[in-house]
Subunit: 335 residues, 2 copies
Amino acid sequence: MALTIRDVARAAGVSTATVSRALRGLENVDPDTRARIVRIAEELRFSISPSASRLASGRAGSIAIVTPFIGGWYFTEVFAGLESGLQPYDVDLLLHATGMPGVTAHPVRAHERIRRRVDGVVVMGMPLEMTESEGLFDLDVPVVLLGVQAPGVPSVCIDDRGGAVDAVEHLVDRGFERIGLISGRPLPTMFVPENDRLDGYLDVLHKHGLPTDEALREPGEFDVRGGELAMDRLLSLRPRPTAVFSMSDEMAYGALRAMNRRGVVPGREVAIIGFDGHDLADTFDLSTVAQPVRELGRVAANLLMERIAGVSASPLGTDSVVLATQLYARRSTGC
Amino acid sequence: MALTIRDVARAAGVSTATVSRALRGLENVDPDTRARIVRIAEELRFSISPSASRLASGRAGSIAIVTPFIGGWYFTEVFAGLESGLQPYDVDLLLHATGMPGVTAHPVRAHERIRRRVDGVVVMGMPLEMTESEGLFDLDVPVVLLGVQAPGVPSVCIDDRGGAVDAVEHLVDRGFERIGLISGRPLPTMFVPENDRLDGYLDVLHKHGLPTDEALREPGEFDVRGGELAMDRLLSLRPRPTAVFSMSDEMAYGALRAMNRRGVVPGREVAIIGFDGHDLADTFDLSTVAQPVRELGRVAANLLMERIAGVSASPLGTDSVVLATQLYARRSTGC
DNA sequence: GGTCCGCATGACAGCGGTTACATTCGCTCG
DNA sequence: CGAGCGAATGTAACCGCTGTCATGCGGACC
């Protein structure tokens, strides 16, 4: 019932091979012939059958984004960035959530789920070990890491250490000396970015000879509630920190709330700075180190598509793109 | 190089047809035979080629979610809900963003993009006219509307009018009388849910004989910044409203900010209630009418898959699922 | 003028499954 | 005891494209 390439071929008085070539913009087709075929295809409202095309060509026509979880601001932004980066290519974006090991462990390994159906994979915010255990390197397709860096694997990420340095230097600039930290998981973790941010934080403190008590570091689970509890604990310390660097904006929101509840004015008695550049940071006057998350997705998409195209081409280097972060100083740090 | 069903057939000493039947769990396969085939397939680490399967069976093996935009809390929750609702089915979820007409108009109609590659479509938060103009009804596949109701099309949505009634009744209960409104677009709009919420708002005011000045209604563009501006305008009125119903939580955040800037304490001088049940509503003490967004996605997925399966079955009714909203009273309304 | 070359095109064998239809075989039943 | 039946399995024709190889043809070249 649906039209096939044969119908077009017949209508144009050419062979199916020529139609196929013409429609895909391959070389060695007479411009006139191509124009005619394209016109006829449009008149007939014909469009190629992806499954047939994929079967015949051996390409999956899809790539997958593998992430520990769906939801949250970061995920959405990455996803939107990927989607926009994929526009120029005729490729579908598939999604696979693994769940976090030990928390929401997913019964199916990513490997099994996406095997044979993708030409490449973007792995988002997963430690290398997890990427391995999910079998993503055994898929025989290119892999691009997003938000993480690892030797020998192409990746796109930010300078986590540098971003943390900026954040903490900012606090020092503003005259704060007793600087606390809200991390994600308890440190050290399997997540490289967290460790990098910790390093940045510590480096600045050392550089300025400021206190680095471990008591000043509290995990906040990367969510609002966790941030609130972490800040509660920090505010109960004596002496309490006069400033706090939160590894995410969402935790910082929780921290802001804890401060409000106690009548502590952000930026005066206690300063706080987040990390991410979340949508609402501006709304809530939260200073933050913004990372270009959409851009991360976009670049990852391009990097991956390049590698897919270049499988047979010259041996590509192990590209590793590092994007810059940007500091936004707002009222929560007294600006 | 990759295994085919033939390799499995050979290894099991049966025909490819039997392997196909066994692996798909069809009837009329001897339990022993099936077990043997499944075991061998696993040993061989064989998995079916989706493109071959799709081509041969004529099924696309995918459904699409069509949305005006990617991003924001609502979108992400719906997406996560769909994904989880789709788990039991072996179906890929494709995404197509149309852009808003006149704002971010997308050059490609959804119709062209997803034609021949989906077995069904979930249309999210789009007015019926837009769904039509995108050609989604000409795709010859089932369509399920999400967040909108329309005669003759299956849909899953909430009771927008009822939710608005709850919100405004709550304000009245708390003793507020001069009640303003922050809508999305300027009213009336092409979006049915907004109009429904407006109706609910007006109904309650009428019922209690409260003022319904049009001056009390301001559009807030459904984003934080718009909400802030809208609230600014409302707070400049004399007499100013003593309470405001915002059609989304994100706009309400903006409104909260406007109040903070002017030193107006939420819930005391001026109350505000949002709509959505956004993640951060609790954090910022915002009263709200929560809608089960993930559930919306999940139900839509099931509804759609049912219809896809039932195309040939008995003529399904035009199911239209309406999910309940829930009021959360917090400090922003003086609780 | 004949040979060779390269471009435009055609013919056709797959790609890896699914499924309609045919076949086999052990039983039930008249 | 043979017809008839249903469950289990096999056979083979597609599904709609792509890619390889073959073919035709006009022009450059010697």
